[in-house]
């Protein structure tokens, strides 16, 4: 798995967006006065990315941004991926141009998954865009899979169930928890809030299961946020529960590879004609290894789930943000030193 960034611009401004450390502030919103070169991936560069995926034995092209469907040649990129016999996954906010929607609508559901990130209708001025998004999801039908990011404790997911029923999209909710980028400048969930969130997730999982909707956990959740009873309930509902934090590999517009957007500031490696996903993952794993001794909580380094390799201790960006430098000075008598 590796994600290809094809657009640096977005038509939303979500407070929890973890691309803030990576996408320059001036490029995050649609500014058509900027030259397209800096904002969108060229078709030639896209072909080079496809070569990278092919030599990495990856048979799926995962497009993200910014908002990837705003790429002026989005349909051509999707066509090229299909010619290369690759499945297509698009990470979108659902507010896409008509030509992009028509292109995805024309792609069979077994070759294309559109992960539509949905915010609560009352959040961040979403009420007006909610209807547009609903129509997009309805047209995408089984190609669409809803994603929901938890970035505050007073979240509500109940609106997702009628949305799934009305639009006939996949009966799955991809559940994400907003993690901090290393600068901490986005809105995110603090580990102290995990338990409160877990209770609401379990409640929703029960309600969702009654109408045949399952949960699919994105990265960064931790095992200890759920009690044994919660965990059993999640499993009984068929939720795809996971505690992961691995190098996803996001390839940016410049051809640099990062571990993932939240860790964009930690390290970047150049994509060369020789590199493949395995070697890049190994390099990132090596660079992040010392930080992984810790976790998001101070108890993580002695946690049996972590020791057993069941849980990595949550999002590595959260862990790294626990580390600090302290510029202390200490005078000692030299006779003691000698």
């Amino acid at each position: 798995m590796a994600n290809l960034a094809i657009s640096a611009v977005c038509n939303q401004d979500c407070s929890y967006c973890f691309t803030v450390d990576h996408l320059e502030a001036g490029k995050r919103t649609v500014d058509h006065t900027l030259p397209a070169d800096g904002r969108f991936l060229s078709v030639d560069a896209f072909e080079a990315r496809l070569d990278f995926l092919a030599r990495s034995d990856v048979r799926e092209v995962r497009l993200l941004g910014g908002e990837p469907t705003l790429h002026p040649r989005f349909t051509e990129l999707v066509d090229r991926a299909r010619v290369a016999k690759m499945g297509v996954v698009v990470f979108t906010n659902g507010l896409m141009p008509e030509n992009a929607l028509a292109c995805l609508e024309a792609t069979s559901a077994d070759q294309c998954t559109v992960m539509v990130n949905v915010n609560q209708p009352d959040a961040m001025g979403q009420s007006s865009s909610h209807e547009l998004r609903r129509e997009t999801i309805r047209r995408l039908g089984r190609r669409a899979l809803l994603g929901f990011n938890i970035y505050r404790t007073d979240f509500q997911m109940d609106f997702l169930l009628p949305l799934i029923a009305e639009t006939d999209c996949k009966a799955v909710v991809r559940l994400g928890m907003a993690h901090p980028c290393l600068s901490g400048s986005n809105q995110y969930i603090h580990p102290n809030q995990y338990r409160a969130i877990a209770i609401k997730i379990v409640r929703f999982a029960r309600v969702a299961a009654k109408v045949g909707v399952k949960l699919d956990f994105d990265c960064g959740f931790v095992r200890c946020m759920f009690s044994k009873e919660d965990f059993d309930t999640l499993q009984a509902t068929g939720a795809n529960v996971g505690w992961r934090c691995n190098p996803i590999l996001d390839v940016d517009l410049k051809g640099d590879v990062i571990h993932c957007y939240p860790l964009a500031r930690l390290a970047r490696l150049p994509l060369t004609p020789e590199t493949d996903a395995t070697s890049l993952r190994s390099a990132f794993a090596e660079r992040t290894r010392p930080y992984r001794q810790a976790g998001g909580f101070k108890e993580c380094s002695t946690c049996p789930f972590k020791a057993a390799g069941e849980c990595p201790g949550g999002c590595l960006a959260t862990t790294i943000r626990r580390f600090r430098h302290t510029p202390f000075h200490l005078k000692v008598a030299r006779e003691a030193v000698a």
Binding site: S301, P327, K331
Partner: protein, 110 residues
Amino acid sequence: MIADGASAYCCVPTIVWVKDAEQTILIEEKTKHSWIVSGENAAIWDWLTLNYPSERIVRLLSVLSGTSTEEARKALSAILQEWEKAGIVRVIEGNRRGEPGDQRRLQSGL
């Protein structure tokens, strides 16, 4: 002010650390070398990061380890030298052999 016959240590700028439930993890950010510190050494690291003066650290260490002040002073000195060798702390320029050094910086607490 640094008296004659005193050395001054500071934290190497590329060292970051986190205090966990039963240990403290130190990482050198450039080399990614790491150390796990626990027990009395973790307590000493805590006190250093709180910028406690050496006499206070010696007194606390003496109580913690149940040893005399003099033994605690030697223990502190030994661990500082070990950490200096490891690249965790360094002697502030000009103070290794009692040279006139960085006194103004130390006095201002920077």
